[in-house]
């Protein structure tokens, strides 16, 4: 059973996934007041890598993900790759879950057990993942208007409190902070898009993956850049880097004539939407990749156990807020580099060679 999703819906999914839960964190904080430069550099660096993911999917056009992988890499290697990414998506999903629960815990519901919040989110994600990527994509199209609206309003309101002089002096500490900020941005959240490789079963046209991944990423990253830069210009670089949720704090400063205040809850809605979708997508990707890894064509029967394992995993992998923050804002993570860059690069080169050879063979016969 192949699930075809129209490009526009898939793109909405990519936008919300990329924004996810992370836009509220201190993204790229190592860059200090040069954060906008770090964002620009990170976007420029991420685009070719994401194009690479898209290229791989494009090479598989005409086949489902499972068939495509098997054709290019062979039966057993493709299963091994799928298992590895299943693990990666599962872990990412657990991380997002812990971000969501720690945010809720540290902002509004301190005595509510984390497991309760995590369970609620996971059950919802479980349902969504069982319905499949089409439903998630359609849901994204509906929700994205709300997300755009919220982020736009938040940005417009933040601008009323912005002090552009906070961006000065440019490059005071040289290029290294920007590089560190860029690396912070690349592994979380920019290149987490690699999970989406495993979510879509098939695309409408051969060039659809590009049309889905690249504009989706571009929209989300530009939004993130605007919101993060505006928050920094409201708070100052010091406060931006030292708060767990600088965007949240920055929006709490909004005060339009003592009338329009306490807008941070609005940003939390967008955070909730993005976080939920990210958990659902990770769950879907983990189940799908696991099914491929184990050689099943249907993945739905695996969603429940995978989802149920994410709840305890969220509490096992990270036990405190400091760790959650470290993971969201770290500079280089070995597993991230491996899954987001090294492995896709190897896979892409192999795929190009195999496909070229395949074409030659079919031409000669």
């Amino acid at each position: 059973m192949r699930e075809l999703v129209p490009d526009l819906q898939s793109m909405a999914l990519v936008v919300i996934f990329t924004l996810g839960d992370s836009f509220i964190m201190a993204l790229g904080s190592r860059a200090g007041n040069d954060i906008w430069l770090a964002f620009l550099l990170a976007i420029v660096l991420a685009v070719p890598v994401i194009a690479l993911y898209a290229r791989m999917r494009s090479l598989m056009h005409g086949e489902s993900l499972q068939e495509g992988l098997a054709t290019i890499y062979g039966k057993w290697p493709s299963r091994a790759i799928a298992l590895a990414y299943s693990f990666y998506a599962w872990r990412l999903g657990s991380y997002v879950l812990i971000d969501l629960t720690s945010f809720i815990e540290s902002i509004s519901l301190p005595t509510t057990p984390r497991a309760a919040v995590a369970t609620a989110y996971t059950l919802l994600a479980l349902w969504a993942a069982k319905e499949g990527v089409e439903v998630l994509a359609r849901w994204s199209v509906v929700m994205i208007r709300g997300v755009y609206f919220i982020l736009f309003v938040a940005f417009a309101m933040l601008v009323t409190e912005v002090d552009l002089a906070e961006f000065l002096p440019v490059l005071y500490d040289g290029f290294q902070p920007i590089l560190l900020g860029t690396l912070q941005l690349l592994d979380v959240p920019f290149l987490e898009t690699v999970v989406l490789f495993w979510v879509f079963d098939a695309f409408v046209k051969p060039d659809s993956p590009y049309k889905v991944f690249l504009p989706g990423f571009a929209i989300a990253s530009v939004f993130m850049c605007l919101i993060a830069s505006a928050s920094l210009a409201v708070l100052g670089a010091e406060q931006y880097a030292t708060n767990y949720f600088p965007v949240f704090v920055a929006t709490s400063r909004i005060d339009v004539a003592a009338f329009l205040t306490r807008l941070e809850s609005v940003v939390s809605i967008s955070f909730g939407i993005g976080g939920f979708l990210k958990v659902a997508v990770c769950l879907l990707a983990a189940s799908k990749a696991l099914a491929i890894g184990l050689g099943f064509t249907d993945y739905r029967f695996l969603v429940t156990p995978v989802a149920l394992s994410m709840i305890p995993a969220a509490q096992w992998l990270i036990t405190d807020m400091m760790e959650a923050e470290r993971i969201a804002t770290k500079v280089v993570g070995s597993s991230e580099v491996f899954f987001q860059f090294v492995l896709p690069l190897i896979l892409w080169i192999t795929a190009e060679i195999r496909v070229a050879k395949g074409k030659k063979n079919s031409a000669s016969t």
């Binding site: 919040v117 059950l123 708070l235 003592a258």
Partner: protein, 383 residues
Amino acid sequence: MNLRVPKIIAILFLSLLLTGCWDYKEIEFLDFVMGFGVDETDDGLVLVSEMVVSTGTGQEAQLEPLVLSTMSRSFATATRALDNPAGMEAFYPHAQVFLVSEEVATSGVLPAIEYLVRGRDMRTTVPFLVTKDCTVEEVFNSKPPFLTSVSEHLANTTRLQSGLSIFYAQQIWEFVKDMIAIGLSGTLPTVQLVHKGKDMVPIVKGTAVFKLDRMVGWLDGEESQIFCLLKGLPQSGRFVMETQIEEERYAITYEFVNNATKISPKMDGDQLSMEIEVELEFDVPEIGAAGIDFHDSAIVRSMEEQLAHYFNRRVRELITRIQGEFNSDILGFGQLVRRKEPKLWRRHADDWDTHLRQLRVNTEVRTKIVLTGVRAYPLIPRR
């Protein structure tokens, strides 16, 4: 198989979880804090809160302020300790004002405000003031003439800053931002008690000057006005200045219409100086018996010159105090140097205090009278 029933049950179950019922709060058990502040004693800090007591129901309902205080070793424990005498959970997010006493400010304000920045149930968008010559508790127990609640009175007064222009209002986060910024020191407005009959009335006037987190001195109301001008705060206040009109001196009232200030670092070879340019536009709402015809441009020019001279002198006096007496960079000269001349800042960052003392500051005040009420001619009594 029909899955509708399990699905409906699932939705109901999920919505139950999303209410966050562990943290559910009954409004009857919450006591809203109108304003709060910190006093200091030898044994620890004293948290003083002005709470709301509601009496009567329906149309008869009235909100009466009640002042409670408790001593504790930290702010966070004090907020909980107040719950016991109150018999309710104190609810801080709607507080309208936060005060610290002079003693707290002089010994370092950081222990008193750290919790406000870190704690989840605190908001930093609250006006922040220092009490002068009185304790926080005395201020909360004073009697504002119109409102029953001191917090509300102070919060309203801080909103009038541009019209009063005798203090520079700050919210907690603004003060914190200045305090942690490089090359900039914070200031806070001050509350004083004045006698009004047999009651004490709180008024907001003057500015407390900080260096790091410690208060190092005061600016009076007039100096605060100049400080507000230099900070570029839009002013609409009125003041009276003895003005020489031809041969006589008259007390003439002026009102700010527009004001703009530009401070920029200037390099002259290796010598750094700060250039302060102030542009002021005035209305003249009252001339009394001065008998000025504002069509006479020579008189107007003379008035403008006197205004410029007057403000220039006051700006210079304030800067001398800031550089010498306080040696605290409340105007953010260091921040400006860091932003505009980063190379130079790198050299001076470590001993900026010394540089601040010796820094050459050039001031220029330009003034213009743009309005004269609704008439240019004077009122002339005739026989």
